[in-house]
């Protein structure tokens, strides 16, 4: 007799891939992060994943603020 193991959310979840970001620093004078060149910005903004959480978890859409 075989036993079927039922699946939960974790069984369907996928491992997030890391995006490698260039070295950067935050410029308080201009209030932007530096060394994000235009390609980086395009990649980040262009993929709807423009936060650090998203950088770590690029598929995470960053749309919701459930933890507000």
């Amino acid at each position: 007799m075989t036993t079927t193991t039922l699946k939960n959310h974790a069984d369907f979840a996928l491992k997030a891939e890391l995006i490698e970001l260039p070295e950067s620093y935050y410029d308080y004078e201009k209030d932007i992060r530096y060394n994000f060149n235009s390609d980086t910005i395009k990649q980040m903004a262009g993929t709807n994943t423009n936060t650090t959480m998203s950088q770590k978890n690029p598929g995470w859409d960053g749309d919701s603020d459930n933890d507000f």
Partner: protein
């Protein structure tokens, strides 16, 4: 006067906004760098000082809630939660003064995923759905979606996924939806009555387009909306009392099916170079010296 943008230091959308609005018109409060700011709040006013600049409450004409908490934190301890409250209190004070624009983050809780679907059926076609916990599903194969944005153990993400309900553990809660083999994704940014619609061909047949967006970024194309559908969106957003939102639909058999509205949905990725008027419109509302409608 300045606009206070509450966000994090990696938020490229805010970089773009500052480049458009002008640094002198914006004060940026980055939650991830909060230890580098000094903050004083009392019964009369508040002061926020970054390493290079400072701002007092009376200098702020608008506050825009971006993405302060959207980053990975090693710490979710007591101190972290207390600091989250600090930026919430600043937002609350300014919001009570009628200075908050576009995004009301509390709406996320108020509307949630399911209530917005219920209300949407009065305005749009909505794929059949259910939420089950310790209960049989009416579906056999369907789509499973998450209600929250939580990350699972080992940095795993539960994307929108096609499942067989005979295989799932009903002791967990499941938000399930009828699977439509979509022809296109459609996303529409609503900014105080202005609509910016973009479509994405379903060439890769991904159920959740966000899965593959780093390796294979997709190109969203402008989508023309007809008047009747536009009117439905305006009525729906009015019903939800939202000044801003990004609505997601799928196109199936040449008809629009509502999926969800994100009350603080990302938008800059759709118009990074200000080609379609979206960036310009949002800049206009955020600029501290322009007239604005404030959230109620």
């Amino acid at each position: 006067m300045k606009t206070l943008i509450i966000t994090n230091s990696f938020d490229v959308t805010t970089d773009i906004l500052i480049s458009q609005i002008g640094h002198q018109h914006v004060f940026r409060l980055n939650f991830d760098l909060l230890s580098n700011y000094s903050i004083y709040i009392d019964s009369i006013s508040f002061l926020i000082r970054s390493p290079n600049r400072e701002i007092v409450e009376s200098e702020i004409s608008k506050v825009y809630w971006r993405k302060p908490f959207n980053f990975s934190s090693e710490s979710m301890d007591y101190e972290y939660k207390e600091k989250k409250q600090v930026v919430r209190q600043i937002f609350n004070i300014l919001s009570a003064e009628g200075k908050a624009i576009l995004v009301n983050p509390y709406k996320e809780f108020e509307i949630g995923k399911l209530l917005q679907l219920r209300i949407a059926k009065d305005y749009f076609k909505v794929p059949d759905w259910e939420l089950i916990l310790n209960h049989e599903s009416k579906f056999s194969r369907c789509i499973a979606k998450r209600l929250s944005t939580s990350i699972l153990k080992d940095d795993k993400i539960f994307y929108t996924t096609e499942i067989d309900t005979n295989e799932i553990d009903l002791r967990e809660s499941w938000h399930l939806q009828h699977y439509l083999k979509k022809e296109k994704d459609l996303t529409i940014v609503f900014v105080l009555g202005h609509l910016f619609a973009f479509e994405l061909d379903n060439s890769l047949n991904e159920i959740d387009w966000r899965k593959d967006q780093i390796e294979n970024p997709k190109t969203w194309k402008v989508h023309k909306l007809d008047q009747q559908f536009s009117d439905s969106i305006l009525k729906y957003m009015n019903k939800l009392n939202l000044d801003y939102g990004r609505l997601d639909f799928v196109i199936y058999n040449n008809e629009y099916y509502f999926l969800e509205v994100n009350v603080n949905g990302q938008w800059a990725f759709l118009d990074t170079s200000d080609q379609y008027g979206l960036l310009k419109t949002i800049v206009e509302y955020i600029h501290p010296l322009t007239k604005s409608t404030f959230i109620k």
